[in-house]
Symmetry: C2
Subunit: 467 residues, 2 copies
Amino acid sequence: MTFNKIKIVVAVAGIFMASASYAAIKVDSAEQTEKPNIIFIFADDLGWGDISKHGHPDIRTPNIDRIANEGSEFYQFSVSNPVCSPSRAAVLTGQYPARNSVHRHFATFEHHDNYAMPDWLDKNVVTMPRVLQQAGYKTAHFGKWHLTNRNIKDAPLPTEYGYDEAAVFNGPGPQTDTFKLYDDATDFIKRNKDVPFFINLWIHETHTPHYPPQDSMAKYTHLNEQDQVYAAVVDGADQRIGKILNLLDELNLAENTLIVFSSDNGPEVTGSKNNHFHHHDPDGKVEGIDPLGTYFSVGTTAGLRGQKRDTYEGGLRVPFLVRWPTTVPAGRVDTESVVTAVDLLPTFADIAGAKLPQNYQPDGQSILALLKGGTLTREKPLYWQWQYGKKSGKKPMLAVREGPWKLFYFQHENRIELYNIMRDRAETMNVASQYPAIVKKLTGLAIAWNETLPTSPKPSTFSELRQ
Amino acid sequence: MTFNKIKIVVAVAGIFMASASYAAIKVDSAEQTEKPNIIFIFADDLGWGDISKHGHPDIRTPNIDRIANEGSEFYQFSVSNPVCSPSRAAVLTGQYPARNSVHRHFATFEHHDNYAMPDWLDKNVVTMPRVLQQAGYKTAHFGKWHLTNRNIKDAPLPTEYGYDEAAVFNGPGPQTDTFKLYDDATDFIKRNKDVPFFINLWIHETHTPHYPPQDSMAKYTHLNEQDQVYAAVVDGADQRIGKILNLLDELNLAENTLIVFSSDNGPEVTGSKNNHFHHHDPDGKVEGIDPLGTYFSVGTTAGLRGQKRDTYEGGLRVPFLVRWPTTVPAGRVDTESVVTAVDLLPTFADIAGAKLPQNYQPDGQSILALLKGGTLTREKPLYWQWQYGKKSGKKPMLAVREGPWKLFYFQHENRIELYNIMRDRAETMNVASQYPAIVKKLTGLAIAWNETLPTSPKPSTFSELRQ
């Protein structure tokens, strides 16, 4: 597990480069190496533009940037839904969230009924932690849950999904907080340094309630109040991530630990001054500090269109930084390969040498060869569905991406939009009228995909407390 | 000159296609054909998004679209300056406007002094009409001039620039109007149908003062007042252009007439309600109709960044539609080739078989092979300069485009922006920090180019009336 244990490391230069040039790659030439640790850091409402490496004019994120600089990053990574619960369900299951009827965030029974949602993610589906647990990993989940709502009192515990340990908020059981989740991860890493471990570290700083640390606020006194608070919460996250990186260094675990940093969706829409404080929703609540609200949610997309709740790239495209020194080339910036959240489960399974159950239907594919410095040939298009709810009377919007093309099918308006994402990253020019053959093909694909989805949740995923 | 006179026309399929597929191309296999007529229609403040073929949600432009559908269009065409006079000077001279010190629009002596401008475009430089006149063309200019200001009473007449005939506004001599310029062109075409002719038809509807025709207003009653007026003025232009196209059909001139449609810069910034009327600036004035102001200037860029006065694509990139049935493939949409306004003079000269004077320094190149259905290899980068004026104390902004890269060098702030225009058509992501080698190269090119430019106008281009 430590660097010293790795058998043979050779420098291989000149491996085919998918896009930008990067430093020489170290690959393990042995047939089998020890299984790497895996830490998936999933930020909350952090936008594509919110890290200094992506050109934010004010915010400095040296530790998050370090993950990219010592590893690879992928500009075309997107999540499978532009809001929290379905985006996270996709990561956990490797399936589009609509396949498990997780259409919107978990909230109240009435809300779930309106969106034809279950009251929690089905605990019996294939999950990332269970796959890794069965492959010999010690598995843990620290931070946000939101695969049910904290108010659904009979929801399954995180440990029923394949975790050996968990301490979560907005989930069942005792609630952890925004800061404590890092302490839990630190403790878990120390206790499990000699076995392969997997941590879902679902951090929360950039989501309300905001708790800007005083030392971080002091770094950004030159900014206006909103930008200062937001920069400070990002800075807090960056510092805490830095401590995790330092811990891995101290324990000699860094070389063979895969760290992935990403975010669940694009930035939150900035609230009015009325949303200065945030008292109503205690996710990750820290006692004794007055929580700040969406007035300070000023995350950025670096020009991508839309933000949280939008299926435009601003809602879906998020940082995707991957560090694994023994295996993933350092300094690579791949601006072209289309990578998505449902690829994570098959990729982690591939890395762990885990076999996926025969009846499992993955929506993504392993991108391990890409991570190693190679290329990716996508086997299937990417799909999104956005539900408007029963009360609206509207059919869901469907979206599909194949190669550079992204098509939106607004069924309730019988309206199509088509963008060439590789040319038009800001989705400014609807070219549907110019490419009728592509429109026809992608619309057909979207409709066919939609027909594979269930129309209602499994009965076992309803709370007994539903009226 | 007419279709019947053309010797041999053969259909050639399978010629290399630069981007989108298009219909079979007819090319003249004879060594020499009769010189085509050339009509350059230059709209005023019409945005890239203001034609229905570019996806405008409301405005229908069947006649302008017809030029593209029966010809080719080029998405990456840009003008050489985002305001009127310098953009037009570039077209007329085939040189960057700064080479002739035309930095801003022609206005007052004080304005010219502040921007180190002449009082008119030097009449002794190589000009498009003179080149064509010397190649045997009958040459005419109808519509806007603005290569001086109407108030500069001793400016050279248009006929001193190589035109056989001219009837202009915002230039010296009697002023024509927005509608009459089409009548003049019609009359000129009829009188010259048996000789090769060249018309610069510089139309004006989308610039203030707006004169929306009643029948056009009636087509757009479903829109709000601003959109209705703007749609109506575009509709008026479209109808009048349609009449020119019909005239060419009637006279059997269409087949061997090259028509190019473009615009001098991006759309005007919409004025407040205070700018409902436009009485102060009588360009193209029509007696007896109350002229409408910039409150109705609601042109669009289809998502390009910026508009008139911006060196971002929204200010520079405009429609570029080219019809020439004997020679230019129909239905081609070239989204990749980088084409620019200073290419027009060498291209028209090439088409006319004209030799350019030995001491002439073109900034563009002939794109005739591209227009015929081939490809284009650019010989030099494209450059822009934007002057802030002496009073500001600021050095000019420089911009350069090479391949997909466009760099801005804000000298007065020592600040760089770099965009990959092919990836990021909306210029949303400044990637300067990621590509230091490209920044270094392009900054060096911009500085070197800037040093080739004169710092003051020629004495012969100053009015004797200057104080």
